[in-house]
Point group: C2
Chain length 316, copies 2
Amino acid sequence: MAAENEKSRLDDAARAGWLYFIAGHTQDEIAKMLQVSRASAQRLVSLCLAERLITFRLEHPIAACMELAARLKERFDLGHCEVVPTDLAAPQSNAGIAERCANLLDATLRSETPVIVALGTGRAVRAAVERVTPIDRPNHQIVSLVGNISADGSASFYDTVGRLADRTGARHYPMPLPFLMSSEDERNKMVRIEPIAKVKAVAAKADLRLVGIGQMDQKAQVHVDGFVTRDELFEMMRQGAIGEITGWAYDSKGRLLKAGTNKRLTSIPPEVPAKTTTIGAAVGAAKVSAIAAALNGRLINGLITDEATARAILER
Amino acid sequence: MAAENEKSRLDDAARAGWLYFIAGHTQDEIAKMLQVSRASAQRLVSLCLAERLITFRLEHPIAACMELAARLKERFDLGHCEVVPTDLAAPQSNAGIAERCANLLDATLRSETPVIVALGTGRAVRAAVERVTPIDRPNHQIVSLVGNISADGSASFYDTVGRLADRTGARHYPMPLPFLMSSEDERNKMVRIEPIAKVKAVAAKADLRLVGIGQMDQKAQVHVDGFVTRDELFEMMRQGAIGEITGWAYDSKGRLLKAGTNKRLTSIPPEVPAKTTTIGAAVGAAKVSAIAAALNGRLINGLITDEATARAILER
DNA sequence: CCAATAGATGAGCAATAGTTCACAGAGGGA
DNA sequence: TCCCTCTGTGAACTATTGCTCATCTATTGG
């Protein structure tokens, strides 16, 4: 076909696209105007799209978030990804992602058929649970991925499982163990006892795992909260630890370390690569490396973060 | 409703719009993603449009033309308006509009039910006729709005009616009169004689009138072609003539003059305001005033022009 | 000049989108 | 507190769009 006809076809496509998207006519009307069949009008509109004669511009902060989410999803092969606008007044605030996590939990728990939700550590997870809409789902199960007895023997501040169970009437399985045991042997013994094995079995069948992501630096949450000592933290950092999920420390490639606190950790180990829906939730410049490593190591297959963090992850 | 919810609704609208227009999901998919009913997803997409959160941009020269055409249509209440890209290599070229006029004629003549097409003067009209696709329509009628005997007594170069009849097999009604008679009385006598009255009657029932628009300046086509003398032209200009359609001169408000050559003109007078489809075809900076006046005076209710001319008309 | 072939076309059907309606819940005023 | 209004909702229906397939039409190569 001659170049002139080709051009004329594109002209028509542009005309059709204009009439369709900008003037808001139906394809039937356009067909009449351009003196072609409706099928052809439809093809012209398609062509206009295919040739990128027309572009869409979304003038809204959300647009950038959607774009970033799509790129993260593509780049790390994620099943789920949400990016919320960064709260400029409080850039490290997890309010935004907590709201989205709560939404995710709501959606999951709304199901009439029984579902199992497993929860990890993290302030965002905690905040999300607080925002979950109460709903009566006695057949659901909520299971903890981490020991909820803190170093001093009291039930941990992070009793997210109990809170979520309150709001849903679901059966819940807290993990009645300290975060760390005193030795690898003891850990191995404890995780074999009946109540713990049961928790592990339920967790293995979880439909959704929602976990926080912690960075391993001097301000590491596991240390701040008193779960690991300064020395233990530094030892892990020496071993290359850059982040942790449910206490499991991993290096910059997202490989779980086989040393230090990881040997005494009672938390249920992550599935690698993550196969069941495992959503990480975290924001903040300090966590960028940790999040990126977790994504690369496929410790998680979903992410909820904010715009600034998402951008930083992609720009690494 | 609280401002916060309002904002959140717009956020969702933006999300929905993004997913719909940019990611290309169906509203059903979006409904599932956003955890709302499909109907609500549709409302969000509508809202996104209504709030102008999303805009369309057509990256094609045609876009500007469509835009101009829409504005002209709106501003002058036109039934039909087409704007073609200006040929930068030949800005006064009427090739573009001739093609569109031909297309319009094709479309009109394609009809199986008999139609009557009336033709005026003008190079664009002439060129359009040459481009009409031959088609056999013996029941159509082609009628001339202007006398086709030029000053020297020969058949005019502008025998468009004959040409178009050749291509369609339609009956045709040339107007066997000189362009101008020698006096008003003579003109009034001539237009009453049977063959002329017949042409006039056919023309009155025309489904489409396609006319050129001439400017009344020193390069006026009616003068260049020898239909009016220099003195006659100047006299009309003194009377305020700014343009002419089928020889009928009008002033800057589009009012037909009741003086000079208009009194001796044999052309069928325009219907004012134009009620049957009357399309003016003209391009060029020199014609801008004439076209604008014709539009304002409602001597025409349709226009085919080019981008540069359209822009100039709107900017007056 | 003819056959092969790629691309275009329109009919008809399946999928998707838009609209209407009745209703439910939130919020505000008497 | 009660009622009213107003917004938002989903169901159901209708309109529009997208797609497939059989057919047709140009163009190119032999």
